[in-house]
Symmetry: C2
Subunit: 190 residues, 2 copies
DNA sequence: CAGCAACGCTAGCGGTGCTAGAGTTTCGGT
DNA sequence: ACCGAAACTCTAGCACCGCTAGCGTTGCTG
């Protein structure tokens, strides 16, 4: 029993190492730099080992994204909790969202622009993803008015996502971000 | 002189054929299916010929995107021109934008999510891209109020872009699109 | 201690974007 | 009319990608 548990533990540690290596490499050099060969070298094992843990590279990216959902949900919860007023909560949550995307671009990509397949149909992803969405919805609720809360939240989220992705890809100049964010919050708050 | 002009003409036609083949292939099977080998086979030349016309695959995608900018600008102009009122113009332009993205996903990807490098620093792209943006700005102007028009337009554009990309990647259910679009337009119009 | 099962390795497959160098065709000057 | 040069397109190949078959070793179990 002890040897088996040890091997299971070692295996779990190695899986964590893979995810950590993928995350670090992506944050440092972008997802293009994350190849199975570099990942294998990083954890000091051969390539096929990766495939005994994950179905493929997409699954590894999905695992990294899962961590990101938890972090984003935490960031949004913190922002909402420390806001002085409901109106301020919307602005703070919005700012926290774009800041998260700006500071962890590779993580944001894995969560929302790449890795389309696996994570959304999985089991534990909806938990943290739904938590983040719920934070957004709670912030939006006071300003939803007569509109359907889910629709307003999704639309507000889309606005944030659009701001983030268009700025990150160079379509929007970075210097106007604050003003655009203020416009978005204001238009949804009035 | 005549032979030289003939060769130049043939060369121009071949360049158009490359762009058309890339566009058709991308629309039919997505950009992943667009490889330099398939492209070369499609135009019935060898691979290296592509590189005598374009710097690389990205440049080919950028050329396809350029065509897209013109089409999008036309679609927005048509929608705005046929609108009964300024308020209706915003809604119609927004609908035209998301419809364009929905019906030509590969084209939209080339324009706004892939091919980050080349097109925006180029010469003729800003023309059609600016034209599309101007259509958006003209539609938004009556509802800009005291806010800076450019900031409002960029933010409204971000909302549309976010709706489109999140829906296309499966993050937003397709059935709620109409309601979300109405929310966006309404929040910006009031 | 023998047999077996689990494990991680080397080697390789088919694919990618891209390029060097050879071979062919066409042009321009004598 | 011919021949050297320039322009052009091809074949072949490079380095890389994600992924996998099959072998060899290791360590557990009866």
């Amino acid at each position: 029993m002890s040897t088996q548990t040890r091997r299971e533990r070692e295996r779990a540690e190695r899986e964590r190492a893979i995810i950590a290596a993928a995350r670090d490499l992506a944050l440092a050099e972008g997802w293009d730099a994350v190849t199975t060969r570099r990942l294998a070298a990083e954890i000091e094992y051969s390539q096929p080992v990766l495939y005994s843990h994950f179905k493929g590279k997409d699954a590894i990216m999905a695992a990294v994204a899962v961590e990101g959902f938890a972090e984003l949900a935490d960031a949004l919860a913190t922002a909402r909790a420390s806001a002085a007023s409901p109106r301020q909560a919307v602005a703070d949550v919005a700012a926290a969202y774009t800041t998260f995307a700006e500071q962890r671009p590779a993580l944001y990509d894995a969560m929302f622009t790449l890795a389309v397949d696996l994570p959304f149909a999985s089991q534990d992803v909806p938990t943290d993803l739904a938590r983040g969405f719920a934070e957004l919805a709670d912030a939006v609720r006071p300003i939803a008015g007569d509109d359907d809360l889910e629709a307003v939240t999704e639309t507000f989220w889309s606005g944030l996502h659009g701001l983030v992705t268009l700025m990150r890809s160079g379509r929007l100049r970075r210097e106007g971000h604050g003003r655009r964010l203020a416009v978005l919050v204001d238009r949804f708050s009035r």
